[in-house]
């Protein structure tokens, strides 16, 4: 993908977002208000949407004129970033279902692997220790209530 295409996509995304915000602001109950002296709940978002629309238009014009048509680097999303996002997403998915211990342990295993910690046994031991330590600190010291899995109850 070229830099020009990335700029075009970004500009169009914000242009659409601004348009959508302006449209939805009008549809809110009370809309933009009766007049300027009696503003409705949609007035402020309407103005903000208009600013985004205008700024995105300027961004598009500026970038389409100045950005060269060369290949952008990096042109692919790096694998490690995707893995990191998926690992955190897995933690969020598992937390209410499997509880803190399982979710945090898997998060740490995933994270230590992505950040290249050598040796599987070391990874498992570190993840286990860090999970226990963080559980102790957050629940016992700071009184954070962690969700218990349904099977645990």
């Amino acid at each position: 993908m070229t830099s020009r295409w990335i700029s075009l996509g970004t500009g169009l995304f914000f242009l659409t977002l601004g348009s959508l915000e302006m449209y939805l602001s009008q549809k809110l109950p009370g809309g933009l208000g009766l007049n300027a002296a009696e503003p409705g709940p949609g007035l402020f978002p309407m103005i903000v949407g208009a600013i985004m629309f205008f700024a995105a238009s300027v961004y598009l014009v500026e970038n389409m004129r100045s950005v060269s048509n060369v290949e952008a680097t990096p042109h692919r999303i790096p694998k490690d970033i995707v893995l990191m996002v998926l690992t955190i997403a897995l933690y969020i998915f598992l937390l209410p279902r499997a509880g803190f211990f399982v979710a945090a342990f898997l998060l740490l295993i995933g994270s230590l692997s992505i950040f290249d910690m050598p040796g599987w046994i070391q990874r498992v031991a570190t993840a286990l220790l860090a999970t226990l330590l963080s559980f102790a600190i957050f629940t016992l010291v700071l009184n954070v209530k962690m969700p218990n899995p349904s099977w645990f109850n």
Partner: protein, 495 residues
């Protein structure tokens, strides 16, 4: 309460055991954050916001402020020993600091940096104690139009100072303000952009977005770049003290850097960085040996290191006196104030004097703690640099998710965190500034409220704002901030 009485009252708050402990933890974490590359003070403050829920508002602010100015101290250590700035405001220190370290004068460079930071901190606190009450007293006369104009000015100036193009900055401002409109509208109670999700009626929490934009985005970036441990130069306690000549050469740069940094701190934007570069340029210009700069001139360490701490202290004035964050770190502190239900703005000083004066006085104690911590324990902090990055990064991931969940035991907050992290990473890749987004998000509710109140006040005629001297002047400056760069560009293209 005058400034002296205020300071005395502040010390009675700051010297309470729990606040002393909060201050110590804050400056210690700040120093560690400053030493370790990767997570910055804003990310660390965001991560620790949930921890402050169990504290008093004054204790929470004391700890978070300690992280901020503590990181300025810590940032110099890696700049001098590794040529890797722990903080962006320590970039300039890498030039002469590292050269001094290579010549075996690392101890002297670290000592001068610590003393300079302490001196600047002291100047900043005195300025804060005397200037903030005056500013807050005049701000008590501010009405909604003035607050509206001030918010506009703050956002515009910050946008221009971050180096982002005007269109990029405006997109970020609009995005931040848009996110601030999600949830129940305060005047009418109408739910906006919640799409039927009841959890969104309270609005988007600032903390998960802040942790996502700075903490998770930084982690995603380091997952790709794989930071490795560098080998720091050795420092022994024996060589820590500077020679008489080095000390003599450092005194005036410290004084000038402290003052310059403090004055820069009063301006919106990432002024700590600008202050350090300005101080370096000034010292080079005033030096009898400008040729030594770049080869280990001690003035090149003393001036900028004092300036960055002076700016960090100066940035507290607009926050504590007006309730307007002019720097990203101030936005975090404002968030903490809002979370703890404290009155922000000029009313802070009258309604919560223990927060204002407690935080101000705690900075003096914190700076003293930093001086005592940093000099004898320098080797301990250097040892931290040997901790493997995979361990630090993985623990930070865990801290991000557990800390976010702790805010309101909400799974939605965790999804907001993850989405904000991905958005923050993508925005950086596309050269957008997430800092502007966060500021707009923090200022959004204040801006909207003052805008709507101004409309009621002026019967819908917003042009009437221009006839009010303070609001009119601020709007005029805002217009200049937008148009001067555009006019400059047109002038350059024509001639």
């Amino acid at each position: 309460m005058n400034a002296f009485e205020g300071l005395l009252f502040g010390f009675s708050i700051a010297l309470q055991v729990e606040n002393l402990l909060a201050c110590f933890i804050g400056v210690l974490i700040g120093t560690i954050v400053g030493v370790l590359p990767g997570i910055g003070p804003i990310g660390a403050m965001a991560l620790l916001l949930p921890v402050t829920y169990a504290m008093t508002p004054a204790g929470a602010l004391i700890m978070l402020a300690g992280i901020y100015y503590g990181s300025m101290y810590g940032g110099s250590t890696t700049s001098i020993l590794l040529k890797v700035p722990g903080e962006v405001s320590s970039v300039i220190t890498t030039i002469d600091g590292y050269e001094m370290a290579r010549k075996g004068r690392a101890g002297a460079a670290l000592f001068v940096a610590a003393v300079g930071s302490f001196a600047a901190g002291s100047v900043g606190i005195l300025g804060l104690a005397f200037l903030a009450p005056v500013l807050a007293a005049s701000a008590l006369r501010f009405g909604p139009p003035e607050f509206f104009a001030l918010c506009i000015l703050g956002l515009l100036v910050l946008s221009r100072l971050t180096g982002s193009s005007l269109s990029r900055a405006a997109v970020m401002v609009a995005l931040g303000l848009s996110l601030s409109t999600v949830g129940m509208e305060p005047m009418s109670g109408v739910s906006r952009f919640t799409f039927g999700y009841l959890d969104l009626a309270q609005g988007l929490e600032l903390v998960p977005i802040a942790i996502g934009l700075f903490g998770v985005a930084e982690l995603l970036s380091s997952a790709h770049n794989k930071l490795t441990n560098e080998k720091p130069l050795k420092v022994s306690f024996k060589e820590l003290l500077p020679t008489r000549a080095e000390w003599k050469r450092s005194q005036w740069p410290i004084a000038r850097g402290s003052l310059l940094g403090f004055l820069f701190g009063l301006i919106p934007g990432p002024t700590a960085i600008i202050a350090t570069f300005s101080s370096y340029a000034l010292e080079r210009k005033l030096s009898k040996h400008p040729e030594e700069f770049g080869h280990g001139a001690i003035e090149g360490v003393a001036g900028p290191e004092s300036a960055n701490n002076g700016a960090a202290q100066g940035a507290f004035i607009p926050l504590l006196a007006l309730g307007i964050p002019f720097a990203p770190a101030s936005a975090m502190l404002l968030t903490a104030l809002l979370i703890h239900g404290a009155k922000t703005g000029p009313m802070l000083m009258t309604e919560s004097p223990e927060i204002f004066w407690g935080v101000t006085s705690s900075m003096y104690i914190g700076n003293l703690m930093l001086l005592l911590l940093n000099l004898p324990l320098i080797s301990v902090f250097v040892a931290l640099l040997r901790l493997p990055m995979y361990l630090i990064s993985s623990l930070v991931v865990l801290l991000c998710v557990v800390g976010t969940y702790a805010i309101s035991n909400s799974i939605l907050d965790l999804w907001v965190l993850l989405i904000s992290g991905v958005v923050g990473y993508v925005l950086r890749q596309l050269k957008f500034e997430p800092v502007i987004l966060l500021m707009a998000l923090a200022l959004g509710p204040i801006l909207e409220r003052s805008f709507i109140q101004s409309l009621y006040l002026t019967q819908g005629d917003m042009l009437e704002i221009l006839t009010r001297p303070i609001a009119g002047t601020m709007i005029f400056i805002s217009i200049l901030v937008i148009f001067i760069p555009i006019l400059k560009r047109i002038y350059k293209s024509l001639f």
